[in-house]
């Protein structure tokens, strides 16, 4: 028993050191980029793109399933976007509520015939509508096929070479699309995918589809998600993007080169992590072609979304995310440790496997050793206590560093009290939020074996008034 605990303890310790160092490494990489651009006048840097005839037109795809609460405000926020040429396509994926009816009524839509190019096979399209007020707003009503299928239908109907996929419950800031398209335009199409930051809107005041007052929510579960998003976006994605090995562009908001996506076969309907799977497939395509095209993350275009407030909904979201991660890594296992795929195969895939996927398993065993070790008197309670403190403080330090990056890049939260509150909650993370995440992430790994593609069900309150 003792030997077993000892071996396990060493494995966990080595893992924790590796995981901790990887976070520090990623932070250092992200910090360099943030520091360089922190004082840049974003408005001035995008002014030219707004007037430039070389600004590529964009098709904005809004997949929607039971989004009657938020879909109209999302489309309204898209109408207000500063962008020279765009079209908005809402795809109602067989909603059971009145998502389509709300769209048809609000934008005075009429049914139209449309010669759709079938680049990718999708579930049956029942009807296509076009707004009589804004002819560039369309609605596809189709049989239910999942989010990936809805996005594929949107790709088939879209007219332009670039599309932006945005969730039906999200609000994009006015200049968000301009900022996201900037790397694509400036690279003359060498950047084929860009993703921007996603922020949690709970607590902020959003009216007329615009973020009016930014504030923190009261609910601790949501506050912890804010910190988690900072960490994921500002440390993880920024650093990986810097090395061109970013494997995730948020499903809530991202811009893609349509031709490349069609070439890759569109979104995969057989996974719940269709956003990540597509990006990995695109990387695979680029590496196999030895292409120099890139996938980038842009830290500042902010897309506001509603985060779950109940533990049950959060659990189902995280189980789904973890399952999506597992499915993607399994589908593309050929890339793992394969030098043919360069840094994606040698760094990024192993990072996602050991830190993002199996991290929960290692942590679970870490808790098991502490509790079990104390129970069987195999671990010195004093050492266990101090190790626990180190873990708590180190974890919260990483979160605190993410808050620091937020403060240097966007500093969206205006008050000093916001900072203090975020700090306080970052300190509590290890006592309640992290164990919950570990549990749900492990459940997510098991859930992978129960295949069933579905939308993330979440009761929406709506983020815009």
């Amino acid at each position: 028993m003792h030997t077993f605990f000892e071996i396990l303890a060493y494995v966990i310790i080595f893992y924790m050191i590796f995981s901790s160092l990887s976070y520090v490494g990623l932070f250092m990489l992200a910090f360099g980029k943030v520091k360089k651009e922190s004082k840049l006048d974003r408005r001035e840097s995008t002014e030219d793109i707004l007037k430039n005839p070389y600004t590529y037109p964009v098709s904005i795809l809004v997949p929607a399933y039971n989004e009657e609460v938020g879909v109209v405000s999302t489309v309204r926020s898209l109408l207000a976007l500063e962008y020279p040429e765009k079209e908005v396509i809402v795809i109602d994926d067989g909603s059971k509520d009145s998502t389509s009816e709300r769209m048809i009524q609000e934008f005075n839509m009429v049914q139209i015939p449309f010669a759709v190019r079938t680049h990718i096979q999708t579930a049956k399209i029942d009807a296509i509508y076009q707004s009589s007020i804004f002819p560039y707003i369309r609605l596809i009503k189709k049989a239910n096929g999942g989010k990936a299928d809805a996005l594929n239908a949107g790709i088939n109907l879209s007219s332009y070479s670039y599309f932006c996929a945005i969730d039906g419950d999200s609000i994009l800031e006015n200049d968000g699309l301009l900022k996201t398209m900037k790397p694509i335009i400036e690279s003359d199409g060498q950047v084929i995918v860009t993703g921007g930051s996603v922020r949690i809107a709970n607590g902020s005041t959003i009216s007329r589809s615009k973020v009016e007052i930014i504030d923190l929510p009261k609910h601790p579960v949501v506050l912890m998600q804010i910190i988690e998003y900072f960490r994921a976006f500002l440390i993880g994605r920024l650093a990986l993007s810097h090395l061109n090995i970013l494997l995730i562009v948020s499903g809530a908001f991202g811009v893609f080169n349509k031709e490349r996506v069609i070439q890759a076969g569109g979104y995969n309907k057989n996974t719940v992590g269709e956003d990540m799977e597509l990006v990995v497939r695109l990387h695979r395509l680029l590496r196999e072609e030895k292409s120099k095209q890139r996938i980038e993350y842009v830290p500042d275009p902010v897309c506001w979304t509603e985060a779950p407030e109940s533990l049950e909904v959060l659990r189902s979201q995280r189980v789904r995310w973890q399952r999506g991660l597992f499915e993607t890594l399994w589908t593309h296992k050929k890339m793992m440790f394969n030098p043919k795929y360069g840094a994606v195969g040698l760094v990024s895939m192993p990072y996602f496997l050991f830190v993002e996927l199996l991290g929960a398993v290692f942590e679970f065993f870490g808790y098991f050793i502490i509790v079990g070790g104390l129970f069987f008197s195999l671990v010195d309670p004093q050492i266990a206590g101090i190790l626990f403190l180190v873990t708590v403080l180190y974890g919260s330090l990483i979160s605190a560093l993410a808050v620091l990056l937020e403060e240097l890049t966007l500093h969206k939260y205006p008050k000093t009290s916001h900072l203090v509150r975020l700090y306080f909650w970052a300190l509590t993370e290890a006592f309640w939020y992290r164990p919950l995440m570990v549990l749900w992430r492990i459940q997510g790994i098991f859930a992978t074996f129960r295949k069933q593609a579905h939308w993330g069900d979440m009761k929406r309150k709506g983020i815009s008034s």
Binding site: D41, D48, Y54, A115, I383, V390, V420, Y423
Partner: protein
Amino acid sequence: MTIYYLWIVVAALFLSQLVLLFILAWRKQRLRTKEQAIHAQYEALTDSFSTYMLDPSDEKFSQELRSSSYKEVVLEHLLNGYVSVTKGSSTSPLVAKLSEDFLTERYTKQLERKSWAIRMNTLYFIEDFHMQSLSPLLKEKLHKSVRLDQETQQLIRTLASLNESETVSALAKYPDAPVRLYIDVFKRMELSTQERALHAALQADHANKTLKYAAISYIGMAGLTAFLPLIEKELNSQDSEIRIQVLKSILRLQYITTPSSLMPFFHSTSWQERMFASRIAGRLQLSRFKEILGELLGDSTWWVRYSSAEALTQFSDGDILLTHLAINHPDRFARDMAAQWETFLLGSEK
């Protein structure tokens, strides 16, 4: 011993958290106070600034500005607001004068700063305010630059906005310079300088194809019909990209001297050429090509089918033609496309 070290780690982690929180909170508070002060001074100066821009003999604004503790930042905000909302303000001599008087020294220093972001912001503002006095300094920087990175690109744009004609040749030094950047340069120049640069670009040999594409493209964008005969000659070019750029420009200019020169493009092996020829035929309502457009409705490429149907809608009898084609065209895809255009004019925000 181990426990002792672990306690040190715990203390270090805790302290570093506290220090980080303290620094961030202090920094945030300080920035907030500064921003509030700047905002207050901006508000206080807005009225006298507006008066000054209407009547520059009014000395009140200059006096008030001099006594402001953040005069450069406040003036930058005021001028930037004025330039972005007032029509024709980008070449206002008053904006240039105020910025030259108050910001030259600051910007000269800022151009040498280590911070890339500050140097970039300075270049943007010099461009916005048309600060001619900084032109020699910028040229010196351009000569020193060896890579066409973001900063060099903005440097070139800023110099072009100061009507420095040598920016085109400076840009031509970089073989990887994109068309977009050449267009940015043409767009910023004064008309006479721009015309000279375009003539030179069209008449130059084919060593720099990007420059030629950009010149043809810009002529279309800017509606410079005087260049039409020059670019029409290029319809016979061996370079397919040049032919496509010319077709695009003709479409934008909405004029063609000899419509029959379009004929070969309807049967081109390049779908882009067939597509642009169709669009031109529609936009210029060239009835002689109606029959060809009907044929192209059954083209193998979606975009050609789409453009020929769109072109047919431009004719007065387009609806009748499309109704007929939607029923009688031998190609199924052509019938679908005709049916689509028969019922609606595809909307896109222009």
